[in-house]
C-alpha cells in the first residue's frame, strides 16, 4: 500500500487520490480546513485536480482557540 505522511504520521492510501477524495475519506468538512502538500498550500479551487500520491507530505489544519 502506498503511504503518505499525514499531519506527521504515516497513513496508507489505496491509490493516488485527489485532495477532495482524501478529505472525504477522512470525513473532514472542506470549508473549514486548509491543506498543504509538500510544503505548498493547495488552493481550494484545486482540491479536485491536486493529486496526493506515494511519499507526499500532507498537512491538514483548522482553526482552534488561541490568543
Amino acid at each position: 500500500m502506498p503511504q503518505i505522511l499525514l499531519n506527521g504520521e504515516t497513513h496508507e492510501i489505496a491509490a493516488p487520490l485527489s485532495v477532495t477524495a482524501l478529505l472525504e475519506r477522512l470525513g473532514i468538512d472542506t470549508r473549514r480546513v486548509a491543506v498543504e502538500r509538500n510544503l505548498v498550500v493547495v488552493r481550494r479551487a484545486h482540491y479536485d485536480s491536486e493529486i496526493v500520491s506515494e511519499g507526499d507530505e500532507v498537512e491538514i489544519v483548522n482553526f482552534v482557540g488561541g490568543g
Binding site: A34, V41, V61, F63, G65, G67
Partner: protein, 257 residues
C-alpha cells in the same frame, strides 16, 4: 469613540480578544459579546485525524460579526510562521495575520530578527501583517518600515497578567509610529487595559485576562469599559502631575479671615 483604523478598515471597538482557554465555548460566546470586540484571534493547528468528534471552534464564532485574526502562535522560525500564515489565509479566506515568531519557550518573547524577515515575506505576498513584538521602539520602527499594518508590542509576557511593564516604551512607540499601536499580551485586569490606552495605545489585544478570570463574561465587560475609559482619558488629555497640592476651591472669601 473615534474608530480604530487598520489597513483602511474601521473598527468601533478598540479591544481585540482571543478564543483560547475559555472554560467552555458557550462562555466564550458570551464573553465575546460582553467585550464588544469586533475582531477575535484564532490559532492554526493540525486537524485531529483519528478523532473527528471534537467540535469546531467556528461553530461558536459568528463570522458575519467578528473579523477573524489568525495567529502564528507557537512558530519558532520565520519559515514556520510564513507557512502557517499561508494556511490560515486559505482556511479563513482572509489575508490578515497576527504574526508571532517566538524566540524563547519560557518567556515566549518574540525573535525580532525572524519576525522582521517573516513580515517582509508576508507583506510582499499581500498580507495585512500585525506583528507581535517586544516593547522596543527601534524594532517597531523597523517593522513599520517593513510594511506592517500595525505594531503589537507586549505589555508583559503572554499570559503573565503582570500589566504594562515599561510604560515609557509604550509611550515612545506611540510617538514613533505612523501605524496603529496595539498592546498585545500581559494585561491582567481592567486597570492594565486602561493604562495601555491612556499611554496612547490605539487598541489592546488580550486573551488570558478574560478567559482565565473567575467570571470571564464579567471581566470581558470590565475590559470593554476599561478600554473605552482609557481611550477617552487619552483623548481628553490628562492634567500634568504636580509635586504639591493645588486647591480646587477658591482661596479668597474664606469665613472669618
Amino acid at each position: 469613540m473615534d474608530p480604530l483604523v487598520i489597513a483602511g478598515r474601521s473598527f468601533q471597538s478598540r479591544l481585540i480578544v482571543g478564543t483560547g482557554k475559555y472554560p467552555s465555548n458557550p462562555v466564550m460566546v458570551q464573553a465575546h459579546d460582553a467585550s464588544g470586540a469586533e475582531m477575535v484571534t484564532v490559532a492554526v493547528r493540525r486537524v485531529n485525524i483519528s478523532d473527528r468528534s471534537r467540535e469546531s471552534l467556528l461553530d461558536y464564532i459568528d463570522i458575519s460579526r467578528y473579523t477573524l485574526l489568525p495567529n502564528t502562535a507557537g512558530c519558532y522560525t520565520a519559515d514556520e510562521a510564513v507557512r502557517t500564515a499561508r494556511l490560515a489565509r486559505e482556511a479563513g479566506l482572509s489575508h490578515w495575520v497576527k504574526l508571532e515568531v517566538i524566540g524563547d519557550e519560557k518567556t515566549l518573547f518574540p525573535d525580532n530578527e525572524a519576525l522582521l524577515e517573516a513580515t517582509r515575506v508576508l507583506v510582499k505576498e499581500g498580507f495585512v501583517v500585525l506583528p507581535y513584538t517586544t516593547d522596543d521602539p527601534v524594532v517597531c520602527r523597523k517593522l513599520e518600515d517593513a510594511g506592517a499594518a500595525a505594531v503589537m508590542p507586549l505589555g508583559a509576557p503572554i499570559g503573565s497578567g503582570l500589566g504594562i511593564q515599561n510604560t515609557n516604551n509604550i509611550r515612545i512607540i506611540r510617538e514613533f509610529s505612523h501605524v496603529p499601536v496595539i498592546v498585545d499580551a500581559g494585561v491582567g485586569t481592567a486597570s492594565d487595559a486602561s493604562l495601555a490606552m491612556e499611554l496612547g495605545a490605539d487598541a489592546v489585544l488580550m486573551n488570558t485576562a478574560i478567559a482565565g478570570a473567575r467570571e470571564p463574561v464579567t471581566m470581558a465587560r470590565a475590559m470593554r469599559l476599561a478600554v473605552e475609559a482609557g481611550r477617552l482619558a487619552y483623548t481628553a488629555g490628562r492634567i500634568p502631575r504636580r509635586m504639591y497640592a493645588n486647591a480646587s476651591s477658591p482661596v479668597e472669601g474664606l469665613v472669618g479671615r
